[in-house]
Point group: D2
Chain length 336, copies 4
Amino acid sequence: MEQAERVAGGLRARYDAVRAFTESLCAPLCAEDYVVQSMPDASPVKWHLAHTAWFFEAFVLGQRAGYAPFHPQFGYLFNSYYVTVGERHSRPRRGVLSRPTVEETYRYRRHVDEHMRALLDEIAAGRHLDLAFTIEVGLHHEQQHQELLLTDLKHAMAQNPLRPAIFGGAPPGRRGGAAGELRFVEHADAVRWIGHGEGGFAFDNEAPRHRVFVGAFALADRPVTCGEYLEFMRDGGYARPELWLSGGWDAVVANRWEAPLYWEPRDGGLQLFTLRGLRAIDADEPVCHVSHYEADAYARWAGARLPTEAEWETAAQGALAAAGEVAGGAAPGEAA
Amino acid sequence: MEQAERVAGGLRARYDAVRAFTESLCAPLCAEDYVVQSMPDASPVKWHLAHTAWFFEAFVLGQRAGYAPFHPQFGYLFNSYYVTVGERHSRPRRGVLSRPTVEETYRYRRHVDEHMRALLDEIAAGRHLDLAFTIEVGLHHEQQHQELLLTDLKHAMAQNPLRPAIFGGAPPGRRGGAAGELRFVEHADAVRWIGHGEGGFAFDNEAPRHRVFVGAFALADRPVTCGEYLEFMRDGGYARPELWLSGGWDAVVANRWEAPLYWEPRDGGLQLFTLRGLRAIDADEPVCHVSHYEADAYARWAGARLPTEAEWETAAQGALAAAGEVAGGAAPGEAA
Amino acid sequence: MEQAERVAGGLRARYDAVRAFTESLCAPLCAEDYVVQSMPDASPVKWHLAHTAWFFEAFVLGQRAGYAPFHPQFGYLFNSYYVTVGERHSRPRRGVLSRPTVEETYRYRRHVDEHMRALLDEIAAGRHLDLAFTIEVGLHHEQQHQELLLTDLKHAMAQNPLRPAIFGGAPPGRRGGAAGELRFVEHADAVRWIGHGEGGFAFDNEAPRHRVFVGAFALADRPVTCGEYLEFMRDGGYARPELWLSGGWDAVVANRWEAPLYWEPRDGGLQLFTLRGLRAIDADEPVCHVSHYEADAYARWAGARLPTEAEWETAAQGALAAAGEVAGGAAPGEAA
Amino acid sequence: MEQAERVAGGLRARYDAVRAFTESLCAPLCAEDYVVQSMPDASPVKWHLAHTAWFFEAFVLGQRAGYAPFHPQFGYLFNSYYVTVGERHSRPRRGVLSRPTVEETYRYRRHVDEHMRALLDEIAAGRHLDLAFTIEVGLHHEQQHQELLLTDLKHAMAQNPLRPAIFGGAPPGRRGGAAGELRFVEHADAVRWIGHGEGGFAFDNEAPRHRVFVGAFALADRPVTCGEYLEFMRDGGYARPELWLSGGWDAVVANRWEAPLYWEPRDGGLQLFTLRGLRAIDADEPVCHVSHYEADAYARWAGARLPTEAEWETAAQGALAAAGEVAGGAAPGEAA
Ligand SMILES: [Fe+3]
Ligand SMILES: [Fe+3]
Ligand SMILES: [Fe+3]
Ligand SMILES: [Fe+3]
C-alpha cells in the first residue's frame, strides 16, 4: 500500500510539473500563434496541446470502463500515427483547423487533468496500478512534444516576414566564456554495453541492453562552434560537392543551402532567428539547426567524421562515469 | 463647392457602410477562424481585412505627400497581385502568418479609416477630388472581397471534420414556396448593345459598351433547383462521360465528383454544409456550388446548353426593361 | 452507280496520298526516333502512326461485321481520348512502349490499308456508302496528326543535347526577299457570316455558319517577323509585367522565358533549332513557336492587340474574295 | 616483366568476357527496346551500354595524354553521378534521347574496346601499370550495370500492356525439387571480422576489414519460397498494419501493394512476369522482387526478423568455410 502511494505520489508530482511546463511554454502566445502549420511535417501548437491530452485519454483513461471522452471526434482529430487506434485526420491539414479553439483545447486539457488526478488517487489507493507505466510513457511523450512544439513554433515564426519575437526578454546569455580549443578524447577498442538496462524509464527503441564492438576512436570534447562553422562556409563548404554525401549534395542544390537554418543575411552580416527575434551570432556558441548532411560535410572538411551511435554512447557513459553518476560502460557483474 | 460636398458626402456614407458590413461578417468569428487558409487559391479572413485596408492605403492615402504607412512591411504582406506595385508575400503561404494578430489587423483598419475620413473632409472642401474615383474603386474592391471572404471561410470550415456552425441562428428561410414549372423565354435574333455605358461605376472589364449579334435563343425563367439536379444525379449524371466536356470528365475522375460541393452524405441522405452548419437540402432551392463543368453537363443532360454572356446580358436587360428601369437592348439614340 | 464510283475514286486517291505522306515524313527517321516521348502532352511518332491506323480500324472497318482487328490489344494502346470507345493506355506513358516495334507498326498500317482498299472497292460498287463520311474524317484526322507528329518530333529532338538534324539537306529558302513594311488593312463594322457553310469537309467545331457582329478593325497584312520580335526582346519585352496578361507573366517567371521556343543562345548570338539542325535566324521570316501569351505581349508592346477569331475569319474571307475564289463575307442570297 | 604480362593477360581475358557478356544480354533486343526508360530511377539499355564504355574512356583512356574522346558530348550524356567529373544530362530524361542510335552506341563501344586492347598491350609491356586497378574497377562496374540493365529492362517491359517476352525459349527450370523444410542454423555470439581483407577486388564500401560483436542468432538455411509468401498473403499480410514498419505501411497504402512486384492476377490465379513472358508461379522457388518492407513484414509475420548485414556475412563466411574455400570468420593470424 505504501508503495502504491509512493508510486502515485511520484507520478502526480511529475504529471503536474510536465503538464504545467507545456502550458508555460505557450503562455506568451496569442491565439493566432496556436493555429498555424508551416509545413506538412510540423503541427500547430494547438494540435500538440490536444494530442498530448488525447494520449492520456486514449491509452490511460479510455482503458477504464465508464470513461466518456471529452468530444466524440477528438480521437479522430488528435490521433497522430497510431494506425492501430483508428482512422485519423490528415497530418498536412492540421493547420486548416480553427476549431476547437484555443480556449476549448485548454478545457479539454483541464477535463483530462481532472480525470487523471482522480485516477492517480485510485492508484494511490492500490487500484489500477497496471496503468502507472502508461502514465509514465504519457509524460515522456508530452516532454517529446514540448521539444516538437518549440521546433514547430520556431519554424512557423521564421516563415513570417515580420520575424516576430514571440518570447519576450533578452536572449539568455551563453554560460561560460570563449569556447576554448577543441581537443579529441581517445577511447580504446572494446566490446561495450549499449542501450538501456534496468531501472528508470526508457522508450522501447532504447532497449535491450546489448553488446557492441566499438573500435578505437577519438571524440571531440565539445560541440563545434558557430565560428568554426563559419570557417567551413568561408572555405566554400557549400560549393564543394566532394565534401558532401551524394544525397547531401542533392539537398544543397535543390534547397540552395548556403548556411544553417535560421541564419539570415541582414545588413551585410549574418543573424540568427530565435523565438526572441533576430540577434547576432556568437562565434563561441555551438552551431545549431544543421542537418545531418551539413554536420557530415563539416566533419569531412575538418578531417574527421561523425561518431556512430555506439561511439557517442560510449563517450557519454564515460563522461557520466567520470562524474561519478553511473557505473560506466560495463554491464553489472562484468569487467569492461 | 456644393458638388464636392455632395460627392464627399455620398462617398463617406458608402465608405462607412461598406467597411462596417465587412466587419459585421466577421463578428461571429473567434480569433482562430481569421487565420486559416484551406487551399492555395483561398485567403485567411485576416488577410482579406488587411488587404482591403491596404488598398486604400496604397492607392488613395499613399498618393498624398506626407502619409506614413501604418507598418513598413504591410505593403509586402497585403499586396495581392498588383505586380507593378512591388514584391509580395507568396499567396499559398498566407495561412502560415499568425502575425499581425486579429487585434492588430483591426487597429490597421481603424488607422486607415481615420485617415480616409480626414481625406473625405478635404474632398468635401474641394481638395483632392481626383481621388474620388479611386475611393469608389476601393469600395467596390472591398465588396468583392466580402464575397471572397465568405467563400473562403466556408471552404475552410468545410475542411474541418467538426463542421462548425460559424454563424448562429437558424438558416434563413427561402423566400416563396415551390419553384414552379421551368419555362423558357424566347428572344429574337438582333444586334444588341452589351457592356457598361455611361453613368455609375463599372469595372474596366465591363466596358466599353459594344454591339454583339445575338442569335435567337430561349433562356429559362428561373434557376435550376436542387430537386432537378438530383434527377440528373440519379440518372447517372456523374458517371456518363458523354454528358461532359473533356476537361470536365477529367475533373470528375480526378476529383471523384459525385455531387455539388458541400453536399454531404449523412444518415443515408444528402445534406448541405453552410456557415450555419449542416442542414437538409430543399428540393425547391436553386442548386449552388456547381462548377462550370457541372452546370454544362447538367444542361446537356436536360437537352439545353448554358447561355453565352451576351445572351445572359440580353435577357437581364430585358428583365430590367420590363421592370421599367432602363431603356433596354439599344444604345441611346439608336434603333435596335 | 457512277456517283458511288466517283466518290470512291476521290476517296481512294486522297487515302493513298494522305497515308503515303504520313510515311514520307518518317522516311528519314531511324527506329529509335519513333519511340521517344518528350513530355506528357506529346506522343511518340510510332504512336501517331498506329493511332491513325487504329482510327480507320475502329470507326470504319470495325463497323462492318466480320472484320478481325489486327491485334486484340491495339484498341487499348492506340485509342487516344475517345472515352466512349473504351479504356485506353495512359497518355504520359506512351514513351515507355518499345513494342509493337516500328516494323510491326508498319505491318499494322499495311493490314489496315489492304482492308480499306477492299472497302473502297465495295463503296465504288455502291455498298457501304454510309462509311464514306467517316473515311473523310479519318483522312483529316490523319492530316492533323501529321502536324502533331512533326511538332512532337521536333520537341523531342530539341531535348537532345546533340540537337540532331533529323531531316537531311539544307533548310528550304524563304520565298521572297525582305519582309516589307507592315501595313494595317481596315475593315468596316458589319454583321458577318462566320463558320463552315455547305459543301466540302469541315470538323464539327467549324459549323454551323452563323452571324457575328464584327466592329470596325484593322489587321496587319503580313505576319510579325523575327526581326520585329527581336526589337520587342531588346526593349525588355520578357522583363516588363505590364506587357503581359496575368497568366502570361506567371508563365514567364515559372518557365524563365526569355525568347521563343527553339531560339537558342549560341556563340554570343541566337540560333533556331529545326528538324534540319540549328541555323541562323532570318530577320525577315515570320516568328514561330511563340505561345498565345507571347503573341499577346508582343501585340501590346506594338500598340495593337491580337485579332478575335471572327476578325481573322473576316479578313481571310476578304482575302479569298479578293482572289476571286469565294463569294465573301455574306451568306448566299443575303446582303452583308 | 612476366608479372606485367600476367596481369595484362588476366585483365584482357576478363575484359573480353565481361564486355561480350553485356552485349550477349542485348542480343535478343530490337532497337526500340534499347531506348525506353520506365521511371526516373531506371535507365535505357542504350544508356547502360554507353555509360559502361564511358567509364573506361573517362577514367582509364582519358588519363593518358593524346586520347581523343569518341564524341565531345558523350561525357555529358553518359556521366552518371560522378559530380566531380563535370555536368551531366538529367537522369530522368534519359529516355528522351533517340540519338546516339543503337548502332552508333555499339560503334562507341568498339572504339573504346580498340583503345583498351592497345592499352592492355602496353600494360603487358610494362607501361601504365598504374591503370590496371581502374580497369579492374571498370569491369566490376560493368558487371553491376549488367544487373541494372536486366532490372531496368524487365521493369520497362512490365509496363507494356503487351507484356512482351523479350528473351526466347522456355524459362530455365529451377534446379532441384521441392524446397524442403526450413531450418534455422544457430550461431553463437562472438566478435567477428567483417568486410573485405587483403587479396582480390572489392569496392571501397566493402572495406576496411573490421570487428563487429555479433550476438547469438539463428538464420534460415534457405530463402523463403513463393509458396510460403502466399501463405502470408492469404493470412492478410498486406492488410495488417501491425506487421509493417511505419514507412512500409505508408508504402502499402500509397502504392496499393497486394503482392510482390511482377505477380499479376490472370485467369483467377497469380502469374509471374519474366523476360521470357508470363508464367505460372512455382511454390518451391524463392520469392523475388519483394521490397525491404515486404521482407520485413513477412519476417515479422513468420515470428522472425531480417538478419543484420553482419549476421548475414557471418553466416556466409561460415558456409564458405564449411565448403573449404576460405579461412572463415577470423582475421589472418587471429583466433575467432
Ligand atoms: Fe505523439
Ligand atoms: Fe484584391
Ligand atoms: Fe487522334
Ligand atoms: Fe555507373
